[in-house]
Amino acid sequence: MMEPASSLIRGGNPQGAGPCERFLLSPSAWGQLPAALQQEPDLALLGLWADAAQVHACFLHEPSNEAVLASTPAAGWNYAALSPARPGAVRFERMILELWGHHAEGAVDLRPWLDHGRWPLRHPLAAKPIPFAGEAPQPEFLPVEGEGIHQIPVGPIHAGVIEPGHFRFSVQGEVVVRLEQRLGYKHKGTLSLMLGTSPRTAVRYAARLSGDTTVAHSWAFSAAVEAALGVTPPPRALHLRALMLELERIHNHLNDWGFVCNDAAFAFPHARCGLLREGVLRAINAAFGHRLMMDRVLPGGVAPDIAPRGAEAILAALEAVEAEIPALMQIYEAHASLQDRVVTTGFLRPDLARAFAAGGHVGRASGRGFDARRLPQHLPYSILHFEVPVLEAGDVDARVRIRVSELSQSIALVRQVLDSLPSGELMAPLPVRGGEGLAMIEGFRGECLHWIKLDDSGLIRALFPRDPSWLQWPLLEAAIEDNIVADFPLCNKSFNCSYSGVDL
């Protein structure tokens, strides 16, 4: 059989999710999944999560860009781990054990991840959480053997104004032999706050999963709700969402391009990018009344409408950005001292990017071209023109170049959207009923994937928001290997993974 895993999944019991189906597999069918996945490398694992009774996996059939969900009962017995077949499953399996208490049989790694032993309860999302009052255990790190190896612990509080997380470097001389991340410091219990509420209430948490990705996560959450309820937002709302999404991409790409240069002690591009970005943020504020566009995308549509002079302000700010990109790129390329720091640094092997199904600039700089904006029937992108740049070089430089190319594409997209902005309603009414939906929206880091299940009174019964960083963080560990410690900030910034987005 050509596609053993796909046919195994589609042989399950369909559960009525939209727009891609979720199949419930018996524990024995699920048990065959790891072996079947080994034989079908084109079926990428995009996410793995749970609810109180079941474990759910989302796969993408890469050749056709079709997503499919698979589930299996997990309460009361151990489900078969997918990590032996898909390395990206490791951190999800650790999280599932901690949040829901479901144990993955045969897992590669089940050490604590989000739960540092400091919450008053264990398995907070299980049907019956267990009160906990014990000592917080010391974290365990993977052993590293070899002569002259020493460790450098960094964090959780870092030197710069950035999010907290712990990095454990094992170093031989100047060279990093292994980096191990320890995250979870920002765990806010977000899912527990969203469960049992209405989508209109819960969207404000989606907007705050990762503040830099507020538009993409709000849209993905809203689109999942709309898929569950069979609602289509009005055309004007979809256009405005795309406008905000591209503006979010632009301000983040500018920010990170500047920071990468700054981490190579090259302050000038950082200063210019900061200035251009501030111009964009102010235009956004003039257009939408919030510099980051939080709480603008809502289930059913958007609110409020773009301000009367908003389009003008946005176009002026983007003109300044567009005018300066060639000069900044010239400076970036012409300085050997800067190029020396970014070219060949932090190389991510294309086969690893594929194995982890890394999205966004991390994937696209290492040959994996997936972009959720290209998914079929994804309005308004299916009627807009844009290119998705892909490179193979896989180094810091390639990730920067992807972002700079995307800047130009996004600016062109903003113009197209504003040129063709339909008039009319901004919000479609949401019926009160049950349903289940999945959606993917391409944020600046990659696709934000949201799955949601509503009960008959329209309240959230189960959900999972999967930030793209889930599949990118582990690759940073691989990319830094054999680089010098001093290049870590550059590598890190070229990935710019979200801490809050994966700590939940």
């Binding site: 919450w119 509080i157 907290p164 706050l193 990762s210 200035l275 809050s500």
Partner: protein
Amino acid sequence: MLWPKLARALFAKPLTDQAPLVPLETIQALGERLAATSRARLGRSLAIREVDSGSCNGCELEVNALQNVVYDMERFGLRFVASPKHADVLLVTGPACLNMREAVARALASTPEPRWVVAVGDCAVDGGVFKGSYAVENGIAALLPVDLLIPGCPPSPAQLLEGLLSLLEAEAAKK
């Protein structure tokens, strides 16, 4: 040719003027007031250590923007330092995640007195939207002696600048 470039640079407006929506007078006034009060007490500058107790990263974006050339916080004598040991101010964002409790306590213990603790953003003020979760403390006051609240989700860079200034004024009045 160098001359045309030099001429252009000479006649160009300063960068702080390029942003039409900046209340430049406010920022300048803030800078002057800051100079007047903080110089007396701290010799012209405040060293700030930013600590994220579990934010969504929205507050960090705006705190970082304080350093861009438009706000240029250094002209007011405000600067970020890498270690709490060098800091006069702890600028804390996030709802105080339980997983950050120990790190935040250590940051405070490492910050010499006199020092000020500023809670930045609705999360740091009272937990914000995350209030009531099993994993947070509902604001950083549970862990740190807070001197000043700068609410907002996130507060804008201009609000952050104003906030830092009002802290100085309040402290000066206490003397």
